[in-house]
Symmetry: C2
Subunit: 210 residues, 2 copies
DNA sequence: GCCTGTGAAGCTATTCACAGCT
DNA sequence: AGCTGTGAATAGCTTCACAGGC
């Protein structure tokens, strides 16, 4: 189901674009085309969330988006915090607050006193000591970690202690958290290594011992 | 094999740390512990690249690193370029050039004339028109795309035309490139959506209709 | 004819579990 | 006793291929 969730989020974004462009119906093979996946998997994904199209017109875009919104708990608002206002952290603040972003990045934190009390793209930066108060006040439930590896585990511990339920972690190490907290790691160096590797060793070449 | 490659890159990094800390041998369950994977998968991954340990001491760290270096074509140097020196692009330049980075980010490109001819962390920023010359001169083979979605496909086309063989794409769309070019997508908004989702719907809860 | 929904098949990835070594 | 290497089992994901509907 994990992969399915990733794709559904993508479908939703693409469908909103289509709607904006005036389309009202879409076939699985069209959604496949723009998403880069196969038509079969598109159909199965939609089947999994219980949305049904018709052979005549395919899927009704508006209704499907609503269905996806429900799947992603649309009426709920989940507030986000970010810890580590370095280069990457500030870039992410910009990314997640830009124009009509639907994300609620409500606060950033950094240990550097020079950054504290500044605002980045309208997002206030606090001292790390304030995390308990701010998280409780703003009812944040998801955190983004962009601190150096050395500090990441202690930041994660702080987040867990303050009832953060999901973490997007950019620090290059594996965090230790209770099972009830979901962690998604984004290890930029590893992704680059992977590209470097596959830029030479194309996927499943027929030559070679296996 | 794809997942295996990702883990191997991680093992290599972790093993280098261990070596720096004076360790010389490591057991599969120890590498599992620090990497966050299972001992069984660590053993199978190492088996896949043909490195063999001994029941007595486990794996010899130094020799294993060398083996991994060969696997990742160590003697070769692959030069990188980055297109799109916005917030995220500049953060990545900083990330991939910092301290003793083993990556060779040799040039950045941007269409904004104000950025052209600047240097970011020592990395020169060129006008996009120069891409053919610079890529040929510096023999870059992998590119990072951090431009807005609207421009990403044309940047990818340019890269392909200039014999780039691997792309790390941060633009939120699926790029159209020939099969011979490897693309890894990093869609930050989707990763965040995933965390938002799983922060509420924990993975395989026993409740629910299925 | 061209679409959807879906059982069944096919692949890939992971874990189990244990023989064999030291 | 405690480790590795690995066949076999399991789980998870994707594609095939086709019945059924308009």
């Amino acid at each position: 189901m994990e992969k399915t969730v990733e794709r559904l989020a993508l479908y939703r974004r693409l469908l909103k674009n289509q709607l904006r462009n005036g389309k009202t119906y879409i076939y699985s093979h069209q959604l496949a085309e723009i998403s880069g996946y196969s038509a079969a998997i598109v159909r199965r994904d939609l089947m999994n969330i219980g949305y049904y199209g018709t052979p005549r017109h395919g899927y009704e875009i508006k209704a499907l988006i609503e269905c996806l919104d429900v799947f992603f708990d649309k009426p709920d608002v989940k507030n986000l915090i970010l810890v580590g206002a370095g280069n990457l952290g500030r870039a992410l603040i910009a990314y997640f607050t830009k124009d009509k972003s639907e994300y609620n990045l409500v606060a950033a934190f950094d240990s550097d006193p020079l950054k504290v009390n500044l605002k980045y793209n309208g997002c206030p930066c606090h001292s790390l000591e304030k995390i308990a108060d701010v998280v409780a006040d703003l009812k944040a439930s998801v955190g983004i970690i962009t601190v150096p590896a050395e500090n990441a585990q202690s930041v994660a511990d702080l987040m867990v202690k303050n009832r953060i339920k999901g973490i997007l972690n950019f620090a290059p190490l594996s965090l230790n958290v209770p099972d009830s907290v979901y962690v998604e790691n984004v290890d930029l160096a590893l992704m680059l290594e992977k590209v470097l590797y596959f830029s030479v060793h194309r996927r499943q070449e027929e030559t070679g011992k296996k």
